[in-house]
Each structure stands twice: as structure tokens, then as C-alpha cells.
Amino acid sequence: MSATTTSHRVCPLAEIPVGEGRAYVVAGEQVAVFRHRSGRVSATQARCPHAGGPLADGQIDEGVVVCPLHLNAFDLATGGSTGDQPALAVHAATVDADGTVSVQLTGSAS
């Protein structure tokens, strides 16, 4: 597994309403980016590992995202399922000084 991590500037923070998610293609990967009410951002793979649901349409709090299709919840920090689903890929995400959301992708992602 390669350890290269690259940072990608994805979108202006203002493009994502507070407490919601939006989906983006980042370096050829489908990524869901979430904007928490606390001001933080999180990023995960865009499709739910259970049945392919669009996670960016899910509901979030500070800790989890709930897939809109079957209401499976996943920890946004670890990607782990709170039930018995496979884990999600999670990506580090930050808001840059100019208000742009950046997502860090690790090289060997599938």
C-alpha cells in the first residue's frame, strides 16, 4: 500500500449548506463532503458500502452520517459502521484560510 497523500482543493465551503453534504469527483474518485454545524468538514467515499446509496444525501451530526436508503450509520472519523456493515473509506478534510474545502486522498485508494 502506497503512503502518498495528496491534498485536493474541492469546492468553496459556501457551496455546502450547513449540516448537509454534497458529492464531488476528486481526482477521479467519488467523494461526499459534509459540513458540520460546528464548522468542521468531513469527507468519505460517496457511495454507501451496503447498497450503493448516495451518502451526500444522508443526514449527519458531529459524529456519523446516516445513509438515506436504509438508514445505516457510519462513523465519520473512522468509517466504521454502527451496525454490521462494511466500513467506509474516510478522508481527511479541512477548510483553508480562503474558505475552500480541501480533501486529502491517500494514493492506494481503490
Binding site: I16, V18, G19, A23, Q30, A46, P54, D57, V66, P68
Partner: protein
């Protein structure tokens, strides 16, 4: 939070802070009441209005007195019970005089005199001096010089708890005087340290303030099982010992040997300061509904200027309290009043219900301990060998008392029923037990391991049992782990039974089962009260004020949004779109491939050539995957991309049919009198009228209706949430609580009425009643049987509870506030509201019907 120019945030304008003329507030007493009142004050911006000084007898910050018993028993250490440590006072600009006792108050000069000779002027004075243990007169309690024998303790303060702990380490035998809550806690705490304990209680049974004789007897069994010897109906004659206590003498001459004695024979309000200050004091310091004190004997000099009191030291409407809940309410009212947040706030007393763990035994007591009048119903279950005793007292269909000892699973429901006057089930036994009875007679024990329990998520009995074996100890935990019961929810009762069977009685009490949503620990009536009192108008405000730690919970948002929109029909403070499920954000139903279905409104299932033409055009233009006639007598366009939704709505030019929400969905009708040769009433028109009036109304779960023109029931009105049947001579039957989904249930006949107008009125009333009393996601086929048809009818038809006018009025407000959500297509509410969430190529795409077949179009996948 980062504010952006996205337009979704509305900044609240801050008034300029005026610090120049802060009033001086002096609080006498730094216990739970005084500190709570100050906290409430600060929460309402009191820091800008008041310069606060607090006097406390004890040299500490403020701690949770209730937890002292846990300190004594070793379940909690001292640090764990502090509510406000010393730095908190400094951080909030409070001048705390800890360990300084107040002597008296000069009400005319408005100055507080303390024991150190200090003089502190005030504009507003709050007395919160609490209460002290009552020491009954006993021979030999004092030495010749008037001091108390060594080894005799009260149990009230942190210092008491420390002294008792130290004493328990070196002494072997204790006598506790008093078998109320405090005495039992002290006895239990001492017993956990290996001290031999005798408990002496002069009334005939334990906890006689809260419990009837039988419950007291069962509790006694539990206490004795802890190794504590209990003596009831026995007075303490006196104490033995010259310098240090050596024993307790009973009237028959018996002497119980003791190295230490704890006196827990009740509490008395601390009123000395108030008396010395010339305030009206009876059993406690007399206050009015705004917590104002009065002066002179019997208050004959009128209200005392700027002097207030809260907590255990007060007497309000003749009542004194020794529990924490009333004190919190008082503190809230006082803060509302003093800060001007709600100048007309009033305290009207508290109906106390006690929920506690006494000596390791769960106990809930509210209202009457037993029947008092001839007509009172009294339902009792007693199982002394397991230490379980349950009873309820019902008067005029209202719960007026309940005792749960050893098994408190029904607490949430009974508390609601007691506090809110919730309708009671006809089957009284259901007040004490969950009578989960699935329609078939097969007990869960006989079900095969691979028998499917949850059909939505394909969960078998074996899987559920496995989750229990793996350590899930509550129904909620099992549901979260296996997703059983998380689909349509119709199997929830069965899931609970299987979990109970698998746990074999080792199930933890799942209090959360009664909560309206998992993230806020309140049942619906309590939650609504809190929301109304605090005027919370956004989901984030509810979390901030009512959730543990103020934490958001994703799975609670949808239910809270629905509740808030029901409670505040005129609109919410802040349109928080993240509080809504995706369907309610984009007003369409999400499908398995992430596309959406669009169902235009087709009132009563009646359409026109023009509408059909437009639907056909839209289907062509947007490459609709399937056009389906639904069970709700409308047309569903499936496979619409999210980004196309606004254009689809615009081209349709029809309002939303709400096929996606937890809301009023549709009214099916038959052709009634227009064409049918059997029709007895104009069902089509009535169905259309009903749908016009209640379109889009949000409800705890979806609501499907039907109106039929005769009992042939062509539009299946008997199995609808609300079904209306014409029976001739202008009369209509109204059925409620029917279902023909995962559960099949014939509706119950609520009433037969004489006109379509009455049908509309009764339907609206029922829907509003369901909105206000139904649990989140509880369908009417569960709601109606839960309350009992008789009860629903009494409330809605006979107006037994005086609720009808309010229900009708609130429904009218909701109807008036209706706006077609598809109008949002023209002006999106949030950035990217209709932006695709699936630029995804690897989704399992819904297969198209074969080309040429109905609904089968040319395949053209679009992936961006």
C-alpha cells in the same frame, strides 16, 4: 460555526450590552436551589443585568446533594458530584463568599449582614437557605454541657458524608433512625462498607411518605436481603452513652448496640435568616407565584421589596418540597421574572413524582399511594419473593397515582399519563405490563431459529438471539445492531419479545424506548412542554437545550423537524434544511439508485386529459424510467434525476402529491354518486375536499385516507388511517386506525355523522390529535389501539377533555399555513439543493423494462 454568504444563515442581531446600571443581586445560600437559580439567570443573559454575590455556609462550590448517598456507598467520589466548582463562580463574574454565614437582612436599608461583620448592599435578594435534618427529641442525645454525643450524625452535607465514611471505616455497628429515602440510603451506604446496620422507623412501614403499606412491606424484604435489620412501628426512646454513643434504646427496653447513629428523620426548612429579617414564615418562607416573599406576620405588610426565595426553604401555596424537580421549576420561574424574559412567568406548584434508586432498588412513586375514594380503580401486582410491587390508581379515567417498585419499565408511560393526563388504555393491566400479543398464538419460544422476524431487513429470530448473546442488553441496542424493526416497524413488538425471550429476564431497562427520538431523553409530551416553555423553534436549538451535552443526533433530526413544524405552524426560526430527510429537502422520494420518484397531486384519484397529456410529455422529455399507477390512485414517475426535479415540476404545473413524506398522503375515492348506480353519497367530491383541506399536513407517520360511496368499499376505506363510508340518508361513517400494509387491520368506527362538513371537521380533529399525541413513526393502527377506541371517541366526539376547540384551532392554523413545496423548484432554498449526489458510475442501476414494453425506453445512462 463559520458564517458564509450562502444565505442559509440568518445572523441574530445582538442588542448593545448595557453594563452601566447592573442591579446588585445577593443570593443567600449556595446549594442546589441558589446555584440553579443563578445558572438560569445567567442563561437568560442575567450577567449583563446583575452583579451577583453568593453566600454559602459550606466552604465549597455547589454539589449535587442527591449524590451524597453514592459518595457514602462508594459508587461515586467527591469530585464527581460537584455541579459548579469554585472557578465557575469566578468565570461567571460571581462574587462567592463560601463559608460565610449570613446573620440577618436589613430590608429597609437593603443590606445583608454576615457573621464576619460584613455588610453587603443589595437591590434584589434571593433566599435559598435550604433545609436541615430534623433531630427528634431523644433522651441522652446531649451531654451535660449541651453538646451532642460523639458518633451521632445527620446526613445532609458533604461534611456529613465524609464524617460518616470515616466513621464507617473504624466502627462496626450502626443504627439509622428514620426509614425514609435518606435513612435507607444511609443504611445501604453503611452496609456496603461492612457495617452492621439496624434501621429504626417509627411509622408502620418504610417510606410511608411515598408508599402504601403493601409496597412498604415488599421494599422491606429487599432491604432485609441486604443484611439490614429493619424495625418498623418502633420509636426511639433514647440514646445510650456518656461521651460517645454506645447504643439506641427502644420503648420496650431493648438496646441496640451502636458505635454510630445516623439521624434521618426528615428535614425542616432553614428559616432563621428569614425570621430574623421580618419575613412571613410559616412552615417555610412564604412565597407567592413569582417566588416573592412577603413581610410581617401572615404577610400583613405586603410583598417584601425585592426579596425572593426558592428551594426547600420556601412554602408555596401551603406546600413545602423536599425534591429537586420543584426547585428547578422555581428557579426557572424566578429567572424568567427577574431578567424580564417572561415577566408574567408564574409557578403553580409541582405534581411530584419520585424516580429513584433507593438502596439499590428502583422505585417510582407518583400521586396517590392507594385508592382514596369509592370510585377509585386500584390495580395491583405484588410479587414479594422477587421484590416487585406495582400499582396504579385511576380516577375518572385519569391516572392519579402509581407505584413501581423493583420493575420500573412502565415509568415513561405512567409519568406521561400522570403529568399530561394522557388517555389510558381500556385494558388496565396494560398500565403495568407490556401486553405484547401478536395476532397469532405462537409464543416466541416456539418460533424456529430461522423464522424471519423482521421482513423488511430479513432478520431472523436466531440473528436477534445472537445479538443478545454478543452482549446487546437492550431492545434498542439489538435493533441498532441487527436493524430488526427498523424498516416499516410493524414487527417491533415481536422483536421486543424475541429479545426478552433471548435475554431470559436479564434485559436492562431501556428508558430510551419511550423517548420521542433517540437523541433527546424525553417522551413526546415532556418534549413538547419543554419546547413550548423555552420557545425552541429550530432543531439545533432543541439539541442545544435538551440533548445530553447539547449534542446533535443525526437519527433524531427528522422526527424533531416534524414535531417543530407541527408545533409552530406559522414557521420555524431558522429553516434548517439539514434537519430534514432527503425526501423532504427535495420533495420527492429517493429510490434505490439515488434517483427520485415524482407523484403529482391528483385529488381523490381524479385526473383530466390535460393532466395526463402533461405527464406524458414530462415522461418523454426527462427519460422517465417507469410510469406507474400507484395504489393511492395517482401516477408515479420513477427514475427522475435530482437535478431535473425543478424542471419536472415546472413542466407538470401540478402541485406535490406528498408521496414522499411522513405526512398526509392521499385520499382514494370511488366514483360515488356521479356514475355508480349503487352510490349512496358523493364520495368523490368529499374525497377531493378532504385532500384539498389537509394536503401536505405533517404527521408522525404517513397517513392514507379513502372515501367510498357505499359499503361495497371499492376504494378500501375500511383499511385506511381514516376511512369514510357513505351509508345512505346523507350519513357517513368515519373509521380510524385501519391499515393494509405490512399490518392489516380494519379501522374502528369512530362516529357516524350527518354531513360532509362534519366528516371534514372530525377528520381534521383526529389528525391533529394524532399529530399531538402519536409517537414518531407510530402509525394510526398502533396509535388508536394504544389509547383505546373508547378513549379516542370520548376525546374527539364527546369532548370529554375539553380538547376539541384547541385541536380544531391548531389544525386550522396548519391548513392556513400550507404552501406547495414544489414552488421551491423556481427558487432553491439552499445552494445546490437539487445538485446530484451521485456522479457515480458504479451504482446498481435499476434495470429498465424491455424496450417496447410499457415503461421501457431507450437506455441512455448519463454519468457526469
Amino acid at each position: 460555526m463559520t458564517l458564509t454568504s450562502s444565505g442559509t444563515q440568518t445572523g441574530t442581531a445582538q442588542l448593545p450590552v448595557q453594563r452601566a446600571h447592573r442591579r446588585r443581586l445577593v443570593v443567600v445560600g449556595n446549594g442546589m436551589a441558589g446555584a440553579r437559580a443563578v445558572e438560569e439567570l445567567l442563561e437568560r443573559g442575567g450577567r449583563d443585568q446583575f452583579a451577583i454575590t453568593m453566600f454559602g455556609d459550606e466552604p465549597y462550590g455547589n454539589y449535587n446533594r442527591i449524590m451524597l448517598s453514592h459518595v457514602l456507598s462508594g459508587e461515586e467520589d467527591e469530585d464527581g458530584i460537584f455541579l459548579n466548582s469554585l472557578p465557575w463562580y469566578a468565570e461567571n463574574g460571581i462574587d462567592l463568599r463560601a463559608g460565610v454565614r449570613v446573620d440577618r437582612v436589613d430590608r429597609f436599608a437593603k443590606v445583608v449582614h454576615d457573621a464576619d461583620g460584613g455588610r453587603t448592599p443589595y437591590d434584589v435578594l434571593l433566599i435559598a437557605t435550604g433545609s436541615s435534618p430534623f433531630f427528634p427529641a431523644m433522651e441522652g442525645m446531649h451531654r451535660d454541657d449541651g453538646t451532642m454525643l460523639d458518633g451521632v450524625f445527620g446526613f445532609r452535607t458533604l461534611d456529613d458524608a465524609r464524617a460518616l465514611l470515616n466513621s464507617a471505616k473504624v466502627h462496626r455497628r450502626a443504627v439509622v433512625i428514620g426509614g425514609g429515602l435518606l435513612g435507607l440510603e444511609a443504611a445501604h451506604g453503611l452496609a456496603t462498607h461492612g457495617v452492621e446496620v439496624d434501621l429504626v422507623h417509627s411509622p408502620s412501614h418504610l417510606m410511608n411518605q411515598q408508599l402504601g403499606p403493601e409496597a412498604g412491606r415488599v421494599l422491606r424484604g429487599r432491604i432485609e436481603a441486604l443484611g439490614i435489620r429493619v424495625h418498623t412501628g418502633v420509636r426511639t426512646k433514647g440514646l445510650r452513652g456518656t461521651d460517645r454513643v454506645t447504643g439506641v434504646e427502644l420503648p420496650d427496653g431493648t438496646v441496640l448496640p451502636a458505635d454510630l447513629v445516623v439521624v434521618a428523620a426528615g428535614i425542616r426548612p432553614n428559616v432563621d435568616v428569614a425570621v430574623r429579617s421580618g419575613l412571613d414564615v410559616q412552615r417555610g418562607i412564604v412565597v407567592d407565584d413569582r417566588m416573592r416573599c412577603s413581610s410581617g406576620e401572615d404577610g400583613d405588610e405586603g410583598p417584601a421589596d425585592g426579596v425572593y426565595a426558592v428551594g426547600e426553604c420556601v412554602q408555596h401555596r401551603g406546600q413545602t418540597y423536599g425534591l429537586v424537580a420543584p426547585l428547578w421549576e422555581q428557579a426557572g420561574v424566578l429567572a424568567d421574572h427577574l431578567t424580564g424574559t417572561r415577566p408574567d412567568a408564574e409557578y403553580h406548584g409541582t405534581r411530584t413524582s419520585t424516580k429513584l434508586k433507593v438502596a439499590g432498588v428502583d422505585l417510582v412513586a407518583m400521586g396517590l399511594a392507594g385508592p382514596e375514594r369509592d370510585g377509585d380503580e386500584f390495580v395491583v401486582f405484588s410479587e414479594p419473593s422477587r421484590g416487585i410491587y406495582l400499582n396504579v390508581v385511576v380516577r375518572d379515567e385519569r391516572l392519579v397515582g402509581a407505584t413501581l417498585l423493583g420493575d420500573v419499565r412502565k415509568t415513561a408511560f405512567l409519568t406521561q399519563a400522570f403529568d399530561q393526563g394522557l388517555p389510558l388504555p381500556q385494558e388496565r393491566m396494560a398500565l403495568l405490563f407490556d401486553l405484547g400479543a401478536p395476532s397469532d398464538d405462537v409464543g416466541v419460544a416456539e418460533l424456529a431459529d430461522d423464522a424471519q422476524v423482521c421482513n423488511c431487513n430479513g432478520v431472523s429470530k436466531g440473528t436477534i438471539a445472537g445479538a443478545v448473546a454478543d452482549g446487546c442488553s437492550t431492545v434498542g441496542a439489538v435493533m441498532a445492531k441487527t436493524r430488526a424493526g427498523k424498516g416499516c416497524g410493524s414487527c417491533k413488538t415481536l422483536v421486543e419479545q424475541v429479545v426478552q425471550w433471548a435475554a431470559g429476564g436479564d434485559l436492562a431497562v431501556d428508558e430510551s424506548a419511550s423517548w420521542y427520538v433517540p437523541g433527546v431523553p424525553l417522551a413526546k409530551p415532556e418534549l413538547m412542554t419543554a419546547i413550548r416553555e423555552r420557545r425552541l423553534k429550530s432543531v439545533s436549538a432543541v439539541f442545544r437545550e435538551l440533548a445530553p451535552g447539547g449534542a446533535e443526533d443525526a437519527k433524531s433530526k427528522m422526527g424533531l423537524t416534524s414535531l417543530l413544524r407541527m408545533m409552530w405552524p406559522e414557521g420555524l426560526d431558522e429553516e434548517e434544511r439539514d434537519g430534514r430527510f432527503i425526501n423532504d429537502r427535495v420533495h420527492a422520494n429517493i429510490q434505490r439508485d439515488g434517483t427520485f420518484s415524482v407523484v403529482p397531486q391528483m385529488k381523490g384519484g381524479v385526473t383530466s386529459a390535460d393532466q395526463l397529456r402533461r405527464i406524458a410529455d414530462v415522461a418523454d422529455k426527462y427519460d422517465v424510467g417507469m410510469i406507474k399507477v400507484t395504489g393511492g390512485q395517482r401516477i408515479d414517475l420513477l427514475g427522475i434525476r435530482k437535478e431535473d426535479l425543478p424542471k419536472v415540476w415546472a413542466d407538470l404545473g401540478m402541485p406535490s402529491g406528498y408521496a414522499y413524506g411522513k405526512s398526509f398522503r392521499t385520499v382514494k375515492t370511488c366514483v360515488g354518486t356521479d356514475f355508480c348506480r349503487f352510490g349512496l353519497g358523493d364520495s368523490t367530491k368529499l374525497g377531493i375536499d378532504i385532500e384539498t383541506r389537509f394536503q401536505g399536513v405533517e404527521t408522525p407517520a404517513k397517513l392514507k385516507l379513502a372515501v367510498v360511496g357505499c359499503p361495497r368499499n371499492c376504494a378500501e376505506a375500511y383499511v385506511k388511517d381514516v376511512g369514510v363510508v357513505a351509508v345512505g340518508s346523507g350519513r357517513w361513517e368515519v373509521y380510524v386506525g385501519g391499515a393494509a400494509g405490512a399490518s392489516v387491520r380494519k379501522g374502528d368506527l369512530l362516529a357516524t355523522v350527518d354531513s360532509p362538513e362534519e366528516v371534514l371537521a372530525l377528520t381534521g380533529r383526529f389528525i391533529q390529535f394524532y399529530r399531538e399525541w402519536g409517537n414518531w413513526l407510530e402509525r394510526t393502527y398502533e396509535f388508536v389501539p394504544r389509547l383505546g377506541l373508547e378513549r379516542v371517541r370520548a376525546v374527539l366526539v364527546d369532548d370529554s377533555d375539553g380538547l376539541v376547540a384547541g385541536l380544531d384551532e391548531r389544525m386550522q392554523q396548519t391548513v392556513d399555513a400550507y404552501r406547495d413545496p414544489w414552488q421551491e423548484g423556481a427558487e432553491p432554498v439552499t445552494p445546490g439543493q437539487f445538485r446530484s449526489s451521485l456522479p457515480l458510475v458504479d451504482l446498481p442501476l435499476v434495470p429498465r423494462r424491455p424496450a417496447g414494453a410499457p415503461g421501457g425506453l431507450a437506455i441512455s445512462e448519463v454519468a457526469r
